[in-house]
């Protein structure tokens, strides 16, 4: 299907058919019966990032439609094109027209459907119902609980679990071998450590580490993550805890302006770093409360700089209490 070879490895090595998917065996076998019977219900794919939800949807559609994939398949990302208008417009137009080829329905994948507003989900529910004959929906979400009940009850639910370390390692080695990249055990360990069960980030990390040249080791992996995950966040927290509020604020300014991070990005990063900090454990939970409060206020208020400045001031206070 791709006339030009994909250069992002996540795309180049994305499985094209269900038989290429190496994990999620149970899910894959159920999806295969859909292909055999040329019939399927609406589906809800839920699970953490990088566990193969979108890939499974793409593979299913490829296996079902073969050469007729193009006209019969539509992928929309709800967090980019959310709102009622999109549901009413694009989705309806796609869903109501007849499919091509021998499969009697089309497939519409709605990625990150948990980003849809309640109203949009209601509209979606009616659309799903009205056009069931010509179109099946696959909703892809991180949390199935964010989807309204009436939609959940109309869908077959598939829960994707995080990939096992073995599966991840095998995939990384496979990609490395095909790309002619030396990947040693320390490199694999390091990638698994920084990426958790997220295969997408794992492969991106591998590709970035390979771009340095030479073999991929723990050192090169940490070089990538050191730069790619703004170390500045940790530095900013450190400055605040030491009581250097002015410098911490300067760093904050850099993150927002120079790195172009959003305030929400910064808060989430702070939350992630929180538990790696070298402070007494009981303070971590307290700080998590403060971080959460600021996250919430940011959604209520509007000004990132004011909210984050308040957070840094709080860190400075905690720092003085710890007496570090």
């Amino acid at each position: 299907m791709a006339s030009e070879e994909a250069l992002m490895w996540t795309e180049k090595y994305r499985p094209r058919t269900l038989s290429e998917i190496v994990n999620q065996a149970e899910i894959v076998s159920r999806l295969r019966t859909f292909v055999e019977k040329k019939d399927m219900p609406h589906c809800l794919f839920s699970g953490p990032p990088g566990t193969g939800k979108t890939t499974a949807a793409l593979c299913l559609a490829h296996d079902l439609f073969g050469e007729h994939f193009q006209g019969n398949f539509l992928e929309l990302n709800a967090s980019d094109a959310r709102g009622i208008d999109v549901i009413r417009g694009i989705v309806k137009d796609f869903a109501r027209t007849m499919p091509l080829g021998e499969v009697p329905f089309k497939i519409l994948v709605l990625d990150e459907a948990d980003a849809l507003t309640q109203e949009a989900q209601q509209a979606l529910r009616r659309t799903m119902e009205r056009f069931t004959r010509t179109c099946r929906f696959i909703l892809v979400v991180n949390y199935s609980s964010k989807i309204i009940e009436p939609i959940q009850s109309r869908c077959a639910l598939f829960r994707f679990s995080p990939l096992s370390k073995e599966d991840l390692a095998r995939r990384l080695l496979y990609v490395a071998e095909r790309e002619g990249v030396m990947l040693d055990d320390s490199g694999i360990e390091a990638i698994l450590y920084v990426c958790g069960g997220d295969l997408r980030r794992a492969i991106n990390t591998l590709q970035a580490a390979a771009a340095i040249g030479g073999s991929v080791t723990a050192d090169s992996v940490f070089m990538v993550t050191g730069k790619a995950r703004p170390e500045e966040v940790r530095e900013m927290i450190g400055l605040a805890l030491k009581g250097d509020f002015v410098k911490a604020r300067k760093k904050l300014h850099d993150l927002l302006v120079t790195y172009g991070l959003s305030g929400i990005d910064v808060v989430r990063q702070i939350h992630r770093e929180l538990f790696n900090l070298d402070i007494p454990e009981r303070w971590k939970a307290q700080l998590a409360d403060t971080v959460g409060e600021i996250d919430f206020r940011m959604s209520e208020g509007a000004d990132e700089e004011i909210q984050l400045s308040a957070l840094l001031a709080k860190f400075a206070y905690v720092g003085s209490q710890i007496g570090g």
Binding site: A6, E11, V224, F245, A302, Y317
Partner: protein, 418 residues
């Protein structure tokens, strides 16, 4: 008597008279001279802050080359219809021969509302597809997401703010021509005040100097920003040195300074008054609470809440002090306000990249931002050759790369791709 604006009277007539952004202006000339209907990209998009010579350099170029200029304002639907007719009528060969040397200038493209079908962005795209004349577009922010369809047709040329010593030297020349004797310090002050906007500086100069033989520092009182700053300082002092909560709240609510701007000033300067971490945390917490109320007002039009904003941002902040004395801080201009437009351009550009990546890699732009952009940045910086291929495959505009990676890496990639 019709009054001529000095900014127009002394606008550059020739490209060589364009200051600071002369290279960009020369590029405009090249573009017009070498243009043909199959050229790719088909149009120029000149972008940069206000008053730095974007439109002026187009005028200078066509004046020098002897072209006709058809100028439209993009946010005016009627004028776009007009252009569409002209472009349409001119697409036959006979009229091309007749039509001769003409340039179409579309000003303020970022002023277009995105959603309108006729006119608007899609109207412009249609024009760009069909045009048999060179088209030059002008915008403040080329990276506004709604301009994405237009960018595909354009070569981007960036205009920079004009350094204040350059501005001052232009002002000096104008004074000479107008027969005004001006203290260099005065001109320097006007130039700095304009923050890189030459047109604003010339307008300020005209306001101060027109009809006079000489100007001194005392004449600068009319300039508005100085007043604005002065009243911010007074307000901050009244808040931090006030005796009663009531007085502090009054100072905030009766200030000439817009309360949102005042919040920024408070955020930038509050720490100077708080010597103890506890005070610091409490003061900024009060500011944060004030901001929450402000958000509720914005979201729900609940203007009755405004009094809480004033109370929290003034007395709430100031009275967080238990032991800290007054001190005499030097208040600083909010860094945030200064960099806002730069930050917005950057965020828009990165957002554009993220959405391209998202399309290719089946993720939302939000997810692309987090789980692709950092790695792509790393790859480009570590290995520009590989990076350039990646940029091309992802369909990212080379000009946008400089917002993602270091300048050197961006230059290398652009070189490889050109």
């Amino acid at each position: 008597m019709s009054r001529l604006l000095w900014a127009e009277k002394y606008a550059p007539r020739k490209v060589s008279e364009v200051v600071e952004n002369r290279k960009a202006a020369e590029r405009v000339v090249e573009f017009i001279l070498n243009w043909h209907p199959d050229r790719k990209p088909k149009a120029l998009l000149l972008w940069g802050p206000a008053g730095v010579g974007k439109t002026a350099s187009v005028y200078a170029a066509i004046n020098e080359l002897g072209y006709d200029l058809v100028e439209v304002n993009a946010s005016d639907k009627r004028s776009l219809d007009e252009i569409r007719r002209t472009v349409g009528a001119a697409s036959s060969l006979s009229s091309l021969v007749k039509g001769g040397k003409r340039v179409i200038l579309v000003d303020e493209v970022d002023g277009i509302s995105g959603s309108e079908d006729k006119g608007g962005i899609s109207g412009l795209v249609e024009i760009l597809k069909k045009t048999v004349y060179p088209v030059i577009l002008v915008a403040n922010d080329a990276w506004d997401p709604k301009l994405a369809p237009i960018r595909d047709f354009c070569e981007l040329i960036r205009y920079n703010r004009i350094r204040s010593n350059v501005v001052a030297s232009v002002l000096a020349k104008i004074c000479e021509r107008e027969g005004v004797e001006a203290d260099p310090l005065v001109l320097k002050k006007i130039a700095e005040n304009a923050k890189g906007d030459l047109r604003a500086a010339i307008n300020d100069l005209q306001m101060v100097a027109e009809g006079r033989r000489s100007i001194t520092m005392d004449d600068l009182g009319v300039l508005s920003l100085r007043d604005q700053e002065k009243s911010v300082f007074d307000t901050l002092k009244a808040i931090f040195y006030g005796k009663s909560a009531q007085g502090m709240i009054m100072a905030a609510s009766s200030s000439d300074v817009d309360y949102e701007l005042l919040m920024q000033w408070m955020c930038e300067n509050t720490w100077q008054h708080m010597q103890h971490p506890k005070e610091l945390a409490d003061a900024y917490n009060a500011l944060s609470r004030a901001d929450v109320f402000l958000g509720r007002i914005r979201n729900r039009q609940h203007w009755g809440l405004l009094s809480y904003v004033f109370a929290l941002m003034s007395a709430g902040v100031s009275l967080s002090r238990e032991t800290s004395g007054g001190g005499a801080p030097k208040y600083q201009f909010p860094s945030w306000v200064k960099d806002m437009s730069a930050a917005r351009a950057r965020r828009n550009a990165l957002g554009g990249i993220a959405s391209k990546v998202g399309e290719k890699c089946h993720v939302s732009s939000k997810e692309a931002f987090l789980s692709y952009l950092p790695y792509i940045k790393f790859i480009i910086e570590a290995n520009p050759e590989v990076g350039a291929k990646l940029v091309k495959w992802l369909g990212i505009e080379p000009e946008a790369i400089e917002f993602l990676v270091s300048k050197e890496a961006a230059e290398k990639v652009k070189k490889i791709l050109s």
